[in-house]
């Protein structure tokens, strides 16, 4: 009992995932310097690593909320597709329609998040099945109505993907903004504290007087809204949305992987968005490293799977509980 672990809330130290991030960074740097071509540490490369992280990073922030609350959201990839298509379909290349498009897709996101949350809390459907189901349903409607790139985003809207703010690309600003906002909500609001409680132990949270259903619904709305933002970003990046952009990016499983690699427990209650950012960056560094080493995409995939397992094992290996 010699001294408790003292933790300053609100100024929580960097999560352990940053250790892995640092490790990945150094490993990539060394490997690329020894065997690769090009400069790993160049400003352009670092900037590219961040830009590569944007689409996955934003949706992973939202996924962090769902997972932290002990839930999960498999519908995000499909929602990304819906958003990208609807945004470019509504805009039709006309800047006058930007506001309308954003309002519509935000409303869709809100609705989907609410629906996911209600199915999980009120109908008591396992989150995995619930969001798998809503995802399939959304994709079905979308793919029936659109078979292709639909419409186009307004050129002004592409600033979201290609603009710069001084030397910094705007998408990176957006990503960091989303992470900061996520961290703020998670660590500095009552909702965040409640979410940790619900994910940590739903019954304790309930007996402590929390309306756990509302908290969980809130988490799903955040997850959906972040998917919407990723969808908007992708539409801006591609100039239009197609009904396969979300699934092709495997944003559902990738975002879950990023969240757990970042140290958030799959069972909920522990972790945070900063770790998630680290998880996403680890993946991007790997992408960049493999690009510069000139090894193919498939070898990278082999490593990627093992890294997911190894990272999570490093957090979980000391647990005494049975996990299924």
């Amino acid at each position: 009992m010699s001294g408790y672990v003292i933790r300053k809330p609100g100024r929580a130290g960097l999560p352990p995932a940053f250790l892995f991030l640092a490790g990945a960074f150094v490993a990539a740097w060394v490997l690329v310097s020894l065997f690769g071509r090009g400069q790993f540490l160049s400003a352009a490369n670092i900037s590219n690593i961040f830009v590569r992280s944007v689409a996955l990073g934003i949706v992973a922030v939202g996924q962090s909320f769902a997972i932290l609350g002990g839930s999960i959201d498999l519908s995000v990839a499909h929602l990304i597709s819906v958003t990208a298509v609807m945004a470019s379909f509504i805009m039709q290349g006309d800047p006058a329609n930007i506001a309308r498009a954003i309002v519509v897709v935000a409303a869709i996101g809100l609705g989907v998040g609410l629906l996911n949350g209600l199915i999980i809390t009120k109908l008591r459907v396992n989150a995995l099945i619930a969001t798998l189901g809503t995802g399939l349903f959304m994709q079905g409607l979308l793919s029936t109505s659109f078979q292709n790139f639909a419409g186009a985003v307004a050129p002004e809207f592409e600033v979201l993907a290609y603009g710069t703010w001084g030397p910094v690309p705007i998408p990176v600003v957006v990503l960091l903004g989303v992470v900061a906002l996520g961290a703020l909500v998670m660590h500095r609001t009552r909702f965040g504290a409640r979410l940790y409680a619900v994910g940590g132990h739903a019954e304790v949270a309930r007996l402590s007087g929390l309306r756990t259903d509302r908290v969980l619904i809130g988490a799903h709305i955040i997850a959906s809204l972040s998917a919407v933002l990723t969808g908007l970003f992708i539409a801006a990046r591609l100039g239009a949305g197609a009904p396969w952009v979300g699934q092709d990016g495997v944003y559902d499983l990738e975002s879950i992987a990023a969240v757990v690699v970042g140290g958030t427990a799959l069972a909920g209650g522990r972790g945070g968005v900063l770790g998630t950012l680290a998880g996403v960056l680890i993946f991007s560094i790997m992408d960049s490293m493999f690009n510069q080493l000139g090894t193919g995409a498939f070898l990278k995939q082999v490593f990627r799977g093992f890294i997911i397992i190894a990272a999570v094992a490093s957090y979980s290996v000391r647990s005494r509980e049975e996990v299924g």
Binding site: Q39, V51, I234, G239, G249, N291
Partner: protein, 382 residues
């Protein structure tokens, strides 16, 4: 009680399922339909190419030439390639050919390849990476989807000589865009053949790989026009995702539903054999079909004496891209801004000359790779 519930549920479901209209299948006018281009391609089909007769990958149809002296550079060169991905055998055969062509050329010291794994988003970042690396003397792009990659290619072309092949981009920024005659010609040849072979009212099933890819969209839009002028019945247009299992299931579904299919039009040959097997396995005659130049298609076609046609989309264009890059960096004029390659069609008459029993089933007859180092083992042959 519970039984009643079940019955009620089943009845409700039944009502819902039947009442559900066949929503959303209304055909829109394809945004890929361009009558002028269609006419041009049909004309190109009849034309004699210029260039060495034994090297179809260096031939060009009705070329205009662009001057590339401004890009002339002392060898050796570093050539960069942003590949959409290696997600089908066509791309693998092409890429193998491309690598062999690079190796065969001592003037190229380095060949940097980034694989976008089939994702537009990644390819955009890849191109940015390559441009930013400052190491490329020239960039070859094989874009994932046309619309999505256009801005990235435009940006790259401001800093580097860029050559695009296979799928196109909506910009004239690259020095040249290498492709065979085109999708309209491909699609039309198959459709016309079917129209000639089938009686009035014949049932045709159309199978497509996936939507949104220009080289594939054009194939179908041409076929669609041609079918519209006949009185053949198009019983379905489905996407196979280039997956043999999906293709076979779809055909089986249609056979069960319609009992008879007189022809299958396909926009690519990768799933052709699986489609033909679906007929065999259910005990039906194999109908008139369209395929491509894969060995498995050609062998089955030949050995079972089937009636078919195989328009091609030659893999030798991957080699053309490398040759074009060398020409640009040497300052030689090249066909541009469009370099139209010939697009031979395999028919029952010409079938025998394309059979290569020593090559693997997914090898493309028109690889243009026979004189490259490592042939045939490098392509999996014996």
């Amino acid at each position: 009680m519970q039984r009643k519930e079940m019955v009620a549920l089943v009845l409700a479901a039944a009502l819902l399922l039947s009442a559900m209209p066949q929503a959303g299948v209304a055909q829109r006018v394809s945004e890929f339909w361009d009558p002028d281009e269609f006419a041009r391609q049909m004309a190109l089909l009849e034309m004699e190419p210029v260039g060495p007769p034994d090297k179809p990958w260096l031939q060009a149809l009705d070329p205009t030439w662009v001057d590339t002296s401004q890009y002339k550079k002392d060898p050796p060169w570093t050539i960069c390639f942003s590949n959409a991905g290696l997600f089908n055998p066509w791309r693998v055969v092409g890429f193998t050919t491309m690598q062999a062509a690079v190796e065969a050329n001592p003037l190229i010291k380095e060949f940097i390849v980034l694989d976008a794994e089939g994702r537009d988003e990644k390819q955009i970042a890849d191109i940015a990476d390559l441009v930013a690396s400052g190491r490329c003397d020239l960039l070859i792009v094989s874009p994932m989807t046309t619309a999505a990659l256009t801005p990235a290619v435009e940006r790259a072309a401001q800093q580097l000589p860029v050559i695009v092949f296979d799928r196109g981009v909506n910009t004239r920024a690259p020095i040249t865009f290498i492709s065979p005659i085109g999708g309209y010609a491909f699609g039309a040849q198959g459709a016309r053949f079917i129209a000639e072979q089938l009686p009035n009212g014949g049932k045709v099933l159309a199978l497509r790989i996936s939507p949104g890819v220009d080289v594939l969209e054009t194939r179908w839009s041409a076929a669609e026009r041609i079918f519209a002028e006949t009185n053949l019945e198009i019983i379905g247009v489905e996407f196979t995702n280039d997956d043999r299992a999906v293709a076979k299931s779809i055909v089986t579904d249609y056979l069960l539903r319609y009992g008879q299919i007189d022809a299958v039009w396909m926009d690519a040959g990768a799933t052709t054999v699986a489609v033909l097997e679906a007929f065999e396995d259910l005990g039906y005659e194999i109908p008139v079909f369209t395929g491509e130049d894969q060995q498995d298609v050609l062998v089955k076609w030949y050995e079972e004496g089937l009636t078919g046609i195989a328009p091609t989309y030659p893999t030798f264009q991957w080699r053309t891209a490398v040759e074009a890059a060398v020409m640009v960096l040497s300052g030689q004029p090249i066909p541009g801004p469009e370099w139209k390659l010939p697009q031979p069609t395999i028919t029952n008459e010409t079938l025998a000359q394309y059979l290569q029993y020593n090559m693997p089933p997914q090898h493309y007859a028109l690889c243009g790779c026979e004189d490259l180092p490592g042939y045939p083992q490098r392509w999996g042959g014996r």
